[in-house]
């Protein structure tokens, strides 16, 4: 059900009146700078040029346009590699300088939330080792995974609140020879996509006006440390995070609402690995089927690793139970890249996805048969040893 217009206007007026000085939570970034002034750590500044975006309570968050250090995601790189590739492709399309590091580890939070075989000190040390590595490179961390992003924000709060934890982790960083650094902002890639959406819209080559999209907001993006997520009075009256939805609108596609938008995807961290009966049931009964019934979308877009995996992979088995499934799933980065003419296989790597996506491509005006033939030629060249790897030049040929 659409939100009545007067609610949106009232919210906007309230936001304007209240302004950024009256949010109900403290601004953790002030504390981060206070600790720098006391000599406790270095704060890595957001490099120029940056874009100012609005977070939940009206504060401005700086999103770096370029010179970014890409903190990759386990599940994206491992199982849906077109996700990471599309993020890089978008950076390249804007001619932005970025760093894809080899001295980055996972945040290890997927494992932590799944098995608890870690602790506060270890989790904070892993985060600060990665931040130290980014600082050494001169590039600013941009985090691909929603869980890494949410977890690192929790780690930031814990480090700010507990001197003994800072001491423990500083000792570890000293031992590793890493500087003890907290970034000025903790930035998720989807915030960068949001900040750059008009640039992408200008470069759009496909007409998406007939494409209906449902958006799944990732839990660890907007539920963990809520005040740091992007909200915009123009998107659902500022009542839901604006990332993804605002990108869809900017690209000229249609955001369709559905009632279970707040529900998680069913990933469950341990469930997706060892108890998938729960994951499959939740993903299909509470998300995909509801979307089908209420919005009948052409595609589900989301902005996190686990959500793409869960919502996409869970649909196969549900077909046996006559659940209304069959909606392709991808990240908004892949969708934006497609809209800008990226190759569906060389760049977006849709052959790693499960649910049938070809009708969507057809509706978007993409000749997937021809694109697949091109990709098969690429594979043949790799197979024969004419080339060892597909390159960025090949991807854009």
């Amino acid at each position: 059900m659409p939100i009545p217009l007067n609610v949106i206007e009232a919210r906007r007026a309230q936001r304007d009146e209240r302004g950024p000085t009256a949010p109900p939570t403290e601004d953790i970034r002030e504390k981060v700078f206070e600790l720098e002034a006391k000599g406790e750590w270095i704060v890595q500044r957001v490099p120029e040029p940056w874009v100012g975006v609005t977070t939940k309570y009206g504060r401005i968050k700086k999103i770096p346009a370029e010179h970014t250090w890409h903190h990759k995601s386990c599940g994206q790189c491992g199982h849906i590699p077109g996700y990471s590739t599309a993020i890089y492709w978008l950076n390249r399309a804007l001619d932005f300088d970025y760093n894809d590091p080899k001295d980055q580890t996972s945040c290890t939070a997927w494992n932590y939330y799944a098995s608890a075989t870690s602790n506060v000190g270890a989790q904070a040390a892993v985060a600060m080792r990665n931040f130290g590595a980014a600082y050494e490179s001169g590039y600013f961390p941009t985090i691909h995974c929603g869980t890494s992003y949410g977890h690192y924000k929790e780690v930031r709060e814990e480090l700010v609140a507990h001197a003994e934890l800072r001491d423990e982790v500083r000792r570890i960083c000293d031992k590793l020879g890493k500087p003890f650094v907290m970034p000025e902002e903790i930035v998720h890639y989807s915030e960068w996509v949001y900040a750059m959406r008009h640039e992408f819209a200008q470069r759009r080559v496909l007409d998406l006006s007939s494409i209906d999209v449902t958006v799944h907001p990732a839990c660890h993006y907007h539920k963990l440390v809520v005040e740091d997520a992007i909200y915009d009075p123009d998107v659902y009256g500022g009542q839901r995070t604006a990332v993804v939805s605002a990108v869809v609108t900017a690209l000229g596609a249609n955001v369709k609402d559905y009632s279970t938008w707040f529900d998680c995807c069913g990933f469950g961290f341990r469930h997706i690995l060892v108890q998938r009966d729960f994951t499959r049931s939740f993903a299909t009964l509470r998300k995909i089927e509801v979307m089908r019934e209420e919005a009948n979308p052409d595609v589900v877009l989301t902005h996190d690793t686990g959500c793409v995996t869960t919502l996409d992979q869970s649909q196969f088995a549900a077909r046996a139970h006559d659940v209304k499934v069959g909606v392709p799933v991808m990240s908004e980065a892949q969708f934006a890249a497609l809209a800008m003419g990226a190759h569906p296989y060389r760049v977006c790597q849709l052959h790693w996805h499960n649910t049938e996506y070809r009708p969507l491509l057809e509706k978007m005006g993409i000749d997937w048969r021809e694109r697949w033939r091109e990709f098969e030629d690429d594979l043949e060249r790799l197979r024969k040893g004419d080339k060892q790897f597909l390159t960025w030049e090949d991807a854009d040929a």
């Binding site: 997927w110 040390a125 080792r129 570890i172 060892v274 196969f316 597909l390």
Partner: protein
Amino acid sequence: MTLQARYADVPVETKQRLFDEVRADIRFKDYLFGCYECGICVAACPSARFYDFSPRKIAQATGREDLGMFYEQLNDDIWNCSQCFSCLRCPRGNNPGGLITIMREVAINNGLTSARQALEGYGRVVYKIMSTGTQVSPDMLQPNAFPDWGPHVAEISENLELWRRALPPETLHTTTTAWYVDDKTLTELYLIWHMTGVLDMIKEVDEGLHMILNDVMEELLEEAGYSTA
């Protein structure tokens, strides 16, 4: 069987000790502020829909220091949580999911049988993340591991090496890790596991895994001149 009768033979001192460990966690005071019993957390909770599970009861038992209920939850409930943190909608500012994170850590640290059971089949994932620095790898996509994902997993697995070479970013030309992680970085990660006691936690729940991990790590750490003593 009446509520909690299952654990009637567990001494109250044990339950109290475990509860005190939960309460001693530095995050505890930020995760619980009393409870209205409003049930908003339950309405938002995915696990409450499919299991006999309630974040409200977690907040209640912890807040009231109900040792019987706490101990039952520590064994029978906490592994059902999805760790989605939808329960942060709590109007009281509670974080039942966060309390569960702490309870799980205590369950692991104490090697509870229920924790060992919950992690059955999960050891290979712990091995992967702790030894390679990435949680899942392309070569985990095996049809026998994901039969419910359909024939597409077999297709990926058959073409894995070739398809990985068909990825433009050079850090992704890997099959046993999600991306390329250099040895110096891995060594640093191993040192973190050692210095923060995580390896000791693994020992509590899976001695075999602990031995393998120690072997893998020792070599790199020694090569890099780190003493783990």
